[in-house]
Symmetry: none
Subunit: 118 residues, 4 copies
């Protein structure tokens, strides 16, 4: 289910965070669903447990998952806010890029044509 690209310059723990958030946002992971244990996931991906731990800690800090000692880690029950946050992040990034294109001399019409064609 999870996969990482060690050659990618995005840190592994961030890759894991992104995947979990995306799986939640796209409905692959449901509210309250249990995640693999730190050790299990580390074993499956062949990487250091510390790296998974870091991802989980960060996700808990962001309110995306809840970790309960002795029981495991679970997707939060309020996933709608995560979806909204994810969408907003991307929309803002796109808007910034559209402004850059304007500065590079493209009109609204040209931009529209380029990003929606193909």
């Amino acid at each position: 289910m999870f996969s990482i690209d060690v050659q990618c310059r995005v840190p592994i723990y961030e890759q894991i965070i992104n995947q979990i958030e995306r799986f939640i946002a796209t409905g692959i992971l449901k509210s309250n669903e249990q995640l693999p244990s730190v050790r299990q996931m580390a074993f499956d991906l062949g990487i250091n447990p510390n790296t998974i731990q870091r991802a989980y800690t960060e996700l808990e800090r962001k309110g995306v998952i809840v970790s309960i000692v002795g029981k495991g880690s679970f997707v939060t029950d309020n996933i709608q806010s995560i979806i909204d946050k994810k969408r907003n992040e991307v929309v803002i990034r796109i808007k910034d890029d559209i402004n850059i294109l304007k500065n590079l001399g493209l009109s609204n019409k040209e931009i529209h044509a380029k990003i929606f064609k193909d």
Copy 2:
């Protein structure tokens, strides 16, 4: 003219590269125009000359500027290709982000509304 943000996680030398490329792409820097010397720019920005040197070396490798020992650094005379490359980069980034929004459950119409409103 140039400015950097030391807090930003983007390395300083990359910030400088981006700024110069954008200044060229937007016509602020013209073909064959001389850039500030490595030392001058370092002094103006209050950073180490090595960092500017690295930016200039990278820009020369990319064919954006030409550096001549004893004379200075100059914008290449073929800037159109730089503008085109810059535009393409951004367009591709936007397309990728639009696909992410689709995966997050937004329709084409909703995406369109969000990124072009305001």
Copy 3:
């Protein structure tokens, strides 16, 4: 395994780049093999780690090696293209030199005799 000549006018970082490329092209370094760490190689050669870092950075940009923070630097898995590129470089250099010899008044036959004797 590696060695440098500080007297040589070729910069040290280029000497290292050339050696690594040649070791790969001649099969001494295999695909995915791990290279000495930046600090280790610097220590072995008695030079500054920054100089090795520069060589490794350049090699990664050329697609010859892959560097992963926290793990190390590794020969790319696609080394055939490196070998081909290396061969072409040298062939072109020889052809240029043969033309120079022709301009210096040597016939094809004389050139052939000179460069293949002993």
Copy 4:
């Protein structure tokens, strides 16, 4: 007659040295022929007289030209040794490169085909 490429990474004074040596070796400049004065050549090429001076000084040191105060600079009367030296330089460079190709796994036959085809 003379020309320089300021963008080229070969120093200007070396470009001038190379051109004069090649003109001699190929018969364009004859024994005892007078060269342009330092100032004249600097003016024609639009560069600093110091740079030409440096080239002439080097050429005199190598025995290629003779400079006489108040009269000018002249091609040496023993140009055969220059031609021979030039030829030898190039032949040695080619031999080195052929050895590199051998190390890269090419047979004599393959090398021969590559460098004499086209």
